[in-house]
């Protein structure tokens, strides 16, 4: 695209224009993808709750038994049009700038993540050498947005929920960041593109424990699944965005859904090998052997989206299946379990990585095989240990509650 503009303006401006258009294209694509993401999530959620999900809106042939083949694919578009036509209510006494900027900040923090996401070997916004650190830095902007929404709304519920959200977001950021250190350590790079290229064997097979920590804390960072107690959409008012309506409310929703999908995307990139196609050597893709580089890029893009959709599906599964946590349980789980576990996990992986010779230069599937197998065995041992600890904690908790609720029966039949 740079070449196209060079006919009109100087080289510097041509680069600038190409980058500007690229930025708007990636950002818009991200936001529009949300429409598909919301439809997918509603469809899957419907199945989990034994119903059909959206199935009316859209064009399609009528099938047997009066069932349509429309699958409600236009539901999100209808919702989009509806939300554009809603009244924008700003209640009395709000702090105008804080209130209006908050949804923009929250959306920004998610869209900005897409700048460093490698969609394919050659398709990436920009390949920063501090990519992973950038992902964390951008996440912090969302925390500020939540706080601004809570404070700006002139509502006690908003304020309390906003600051509770902040407590949750900052708490779960620690295990998430420590989990991110593991791929950085194994790939020896913070660039998202290099991390993908180094996954001759996807990291999820070598360090499943890290993947689990990442998914749990990511789900909590996103404020959904079992960690959505601040929004509690089926029980209480909507948390920090109770006062928002129209598109401002829509932006909070968009950012939540986009964040969920982006989390799937990040899981695919950091742990599932990103755009790498299994058993296809890296240089075929990089040099465009046999198929040409555009086709390889396209295949890689499809591969990445499929992997991201799998991870996204797992996250929806968790969201739809597990019951909501209580705030003290939520914070206890993080500080007393997840944070120490993630740090110990990091040390164990680092130790094993150093103990196996040849891990400092992994350039093929064969190089990666032995470290991956050893790490997998060590991870399995860790899973057993963690399982034993958790089972013991559960037993203690049951005994404690039993002693409080039924003091007389406990003495008659002591646990264990």
């Amino acid at each position: 695209m740079t070449g196209l503009f060079e006919n009109i303006v100087s080289h510097g401006w041509a680069v600038f224009l190409a980058k500007l258009i690229g930025a708007f294209v990636v950002g818009t694509a991200g936001l529009l993808w949300t429409l598909i993401g919301i439809w997918f999530e509603r469809k899957v959620a419907g199945r989990f709750q034994d119903r059909l999900g959206p199935n009316r809106v859209g064009l399609g042939p009528k099938g047997r038994f009066n069932l349509s083949y429309k699958f409600g694919w236009a539901q999100s578009i209808a919702d989009l049009i509806k939300i554009f036509l809603k009244e924008d209510i700003r209640n009395t006494g709000t702090d105008r700038w804080t209130f209006n900027l908050a949804p923009i900040m929250v959306t920004m923090s998610v869209v900005l993540l897409w700048a460093v996401i490698p969609f394919s070997d050659g398709w990436i916004g920009t390949d920063l050498n501090v990519g992973v650190a950038y992902l964390i830095a951008v996440g912090g902007i969302g925390t500020i947005g939540v706080m601004m929404a809570g404070w700006g709304s002139n509502n006690k519920y908003s304020l309390l929920a906003g600051f509770r959200s902040v407590a949750q977001l900052i708490s779960y950021e620690i295990p998430m960041v420590v989990a991110l250190l593991v791929p950085v350590l194994m790939a020896g790079s913070m660039s998202t593109q290099t991390i993908i290229r180094q996954q001759y064997i996807a990291f999820m097979f070598a360090v499943p424990m890290t993947l689990l920590i990442f998914l749990i804390s990511g789900q909590a960072e996103n404020g959904r699944g079992p960690f959505d107690l601040l929004e509690g959409e089926s029980e209480i008012v909507a948390g920090f965005h109770v006062e928002y309506s129209g598109m401002k409310f829509g932006m909070f929703m968009v950012s939540e859904f986009l964040h969920a999908f982006t989390l799937g995307l990040l899981t695919a990139i950091l742990f599932m090998g990103g755009w790498r196609i299994p058993f296809v050597p890296l240089d075929w893709v990089q040099e465009g052997k046999y198929l040409g580089s555009f086709i390889w890029n396209l295949l890689g893009f499809v591969m990445l989206l499929s992997k991201a959709m799998i991870a996204y599906f797992v996250l929806i599964w968790v969201r739809m299946t597990l019951p909501r946590l209580r705030i003290d349980h939520l914070l206890n789980f993080n500080w007393k379990f997840l944070v120490p576990l993630s740090l110990i996990n990091l040390l164990v992986v680092a130790f094993v990585w150093k103990a196996i010779p040849g891990t400092d230069a992994i350039n093929s599937f064969a190089d990666a095989f032995i470290p991956s197998v050893v790490l997998l065995i060590v991870n399995m041992a860790m899973f057993l240990g963690v399982g034993a600890v958790l089972a013991d904690k559960g037993r203690q908790e049951r005994a404690r509650v039993a002693a409080r609720v039924y003091p007389e029966t406990v003495e008659a039949a002591p646990t264990n």
Partner: protein
Amino acid sequence: MSLHPWIFIGLFFIASAALPSVAIGANWLLGPKRPNSVKHEPYECGVEMVGSPWAQFRAQWYVFALVYVVFDVEVVFLFPWAYAYNSLGLFALFEVFVFIALLLVALWYVVRKDALEWS
């Protein structure tokens, strides 16, 4: 180091702020505007609002933020270590082990003192 990747980040920053702003602006233009004193009241489950919400918090929140800052700074120290880990010796691992162990001991102390209990 070239600044070129960061030009994109800067432009992306502008784009990602502009897109939601445009959406919200379009909603403001398209939507009806019928102000109403009851509609514009802060929503507190139907009860009329009493007092200002901008009141004093208790110090509980502050401890979480403090512990968070400590671990955040720690992780920032670990980033260059993890990045350069393949060219470091076993001694570097031992140093980081001490580094993390000290913080885990501190976390254990904080937990034992029940400072992270939500009450």
